[in-house]
Symmetry: C2
Subunit: 415 residues, 2 copies
């Protein structure tokens, strides 16, 4: 990622200077393995990041190392020295943002983190500045390129998760250890940042309900399509009816005709619904050294242009909700796929349980397919509280006529 | 539009204050017909805009009257008084932007115009700030809600342009005089602003090639769909191979699977391709008092927060191209629909003319339909220079076997 920033800063230095009047120079590069740094930078490279932060000529510090240990030390040191910090590190901000923004405020400097969510998409700027006059009614984000790549290829080719994952690793679209991406943790880091911006209080990682995409099958993607839906891993952020903020990450069925459903491959998109502006959406490459460099350099320009000017992190002070809703209390719709014995009365038994839990069934679909002795039974349910749905779903799975595998995926009715 | 800004400023005043520390107050409202202003504002209303501009307590001037005569006077007076100007007036900026930005620079104040393009979508901010490190490789915009509404309904319902236009007027989606919208002029105003931002020199309205949607038929929309395309009115901005900027507004076939093709109804979207970030896209309501108010209020916050701070219009100084390409020199692909006599050898005659002009044919489609003695013949051509295509097209229309009506619409191969 550092390589991308250096490459594009050198290449577009004159353009940036002409547009902004700023003459951006790389004064220092800190890298433990100095041999990894291109020869052109050999005069400025150091293996000691403290030298970089302490250098008076370094006016803006860019942290692109990732991780949460050394990065936190660097961030603290830069801010403590009164230098603005540009970072793409979502894990760092999701876990230590509260501390770091408070420190920046005390030091009257700023943290710039456009690259932390959505790669090159200026979504942080849109939320903080463009939509500053809006109460945020909802955010729905496809903000992990690896997951969207896998789900898109599963949808296009009908292949299994494991097969596509293996190919994604071979092609460099997934890390050797894929868990941060496919288990939804990376998406949750970004959701924490978006939610904190939207609602003005720091959302803790532990308060975010997170599910990944490992259990999604090509079969469910294909059934969902027949029912008029696509399956995407979403970050969902919106207030509930008790003025708590819902912040959840999970796969969801979304209408096939929605703009979000047309977001394919490694692309990211964030749909933001504001009470003044209505629905808006921001789309682009969510990862990669180049896209990220665009956001980092935009931040560097802003940090450099703002040197000596008063700062406001705009992160605090509009504590709209102040608490995160428990997943049990969330009200959503569900898509349910059951494997049931092919005999009369099964639908009646299932429907009776949902009925007893006061959960309406909005559509039923039974394709003419068999898997051994069972047939698939698909349902899309009406809105129900999570705890209520889970009770009913457990009861249904205990029915003698219901066998493994079963699957339940939430439905989000976005436009 | 003024009503929307007032409504949302009053409603979300506290939110804005909590987020930014700014206490925004409406000090004066100028309106020739003071009776049109809500009673809540009667204490501050005046029918003399000069009073408003001269009032020391008015620190930011918002111009929402539209038009280019009185609005220009107001804009000049506000800037001359050193007050930042917030405006949604694309016609004003497209025609008088160069003068006004020069005046703002001299007065060390700013012009804020997020609401002038794309309604509530923060596209100006994205271009100027988020993508500041990017050479702009291309912009493709659906930036007129009326045209997109009409084309979407024509596509969905197969009805004629005139019928949908009449309904759009009845429903308030089109003005009584529709020409500014359907002839592409409003789109061209916005294109001039986007192009000027992207390429750093003022693009003149006279240099923009503009075609509207009056000649688009439901038939062509339906044929285009069969060929895998949607028809949209686009603003297209990109450099050509001679380092001139193409700035053109016309209907175009775009791939049905592209994100832009999924933009329907009154929604707007702008796809921006940057050399660092790759493809990005911004989507939302492009018009209406509410969406526009979101952008105006975002600008008011920025103008108010920037009071006393140095300004840079960022409009000048990176004169990348400095000239606009003539439409004759533009290279595009074309979709052509001919009405031809149903007899052997017709395709050969047509193909021979394209061949003589060195224009390849990428696909041919002849549906099994008759209209009187003629049958439709559809072709999608390879890339050709406009002047060359027009020569060939005129020659083909003169063939004895080719009758009226014929249609030619450009194809844009966006992803």
């Amino acid at each position: 990622m550092g390589g991308g920033v250096v490459k594009h800063l050198l290449r577009n230095h004159d353009l940036i200077a002409e547009r902004t009047g700023l003459d951006l120079q790389i004064k220092r590069v800190a890298e433990p393995q100095v041999s990894r740094v291109p020869a052109a930078l050999s005069a400025v490279v150091t293996d000691d990041w403290r030298q970089l932060v302490a250098d008076d000529e370094v006016r803006v510090v860019i942290e692109l190392m990732g991780g949460r240990t050394l990065a936190l030390e660097v961030a603290r040191a830069a801010l403590a020295a009164g230098k603005p910090l540009v970072t793409a590190n979502k894990a760092l901000l999701a876990h230590a943002g509260e501390e770091l923004f408070a420190l920046a405020d005390r030091q009257r400097t700023g943290i710039y983190f456009e690259a932390s969510v959505g790669g090159g998409i200026p979504i942080i700027k849109a939320l903080r500045e463009g939509l500053v006059a809006n109460h945020i009614a909802s955010i729905h984000g496809i903000i992990n390129g690896t997951c969207n790549y896998i789900l898109t290829r599963m949808a296009d080719e009908g292949k299994a998760y494991a097969e596509i994952l293996a190919e994604a690793k071979r092609l460099g679209y997934a890390e050797a250890d894929e868990s941060l991406d496919v288990d939804g943790i990376d998406t949750a880091h970004k959701a924490a940042i978006l939610a904190s911006l939207a609602y003005g209080f720091w959302v803790k990682m532990d308060d975010i309900h997170v599910e990944g995409i490992r259990t999604i099958s090509a079969l469910d993607i294909s059934y969902a399509r027949k029912l008029g839906y696509a399956i995407k891993l979403l970050a969902i952020i919106k207030p509930d009816e008790n003025n708590a903020a819902q912040v959840r990450v999970h796969p969801a069925l979304i209408p096939a005709g929605s703009v979000l459903a047309s977001v394919s491959g490694v692309y990211n998109a964030v749909a933001v619904d504001g009470d003044v502006v209505g629905q808006t959406l921001y789309y682009g490459r969510g990862a990669g050294a180049d896209a990220t460099a665009s956001a980092v350099l935009g931040d560097v320009v802003e940090a450099a242009a703002g040197l000596g000017v008063n700062h406001s992190s705009r992160f605090t002070g509009h504590d709209l909700y102040g608490k995160v809703a428990k997943i049990d209390q969330v009200v959503t719709r569900y898509y349910v796929r059951l494997s049931v014995l092919d005999q009369p009365g099964v639908l009646a038994q299932v429907a009776a349980i949902f009925g007893r839990h006061d959960i309406g069934i909005s559509s039923v679909y039974q394709p003419e397919e068999h898997a051994g002795e069972t047939v698939p039974l698909l349902m899309v349910l009406d809105q129900a509280r999570e705890a209520n749905f889970q009770d009913a779903y457990r009861e249904i799975q205990r029915l003698a006529v219901v066998r493994e595998p079963c699957q339940a995926i939430r439905v989000e009715d976005i436009s």
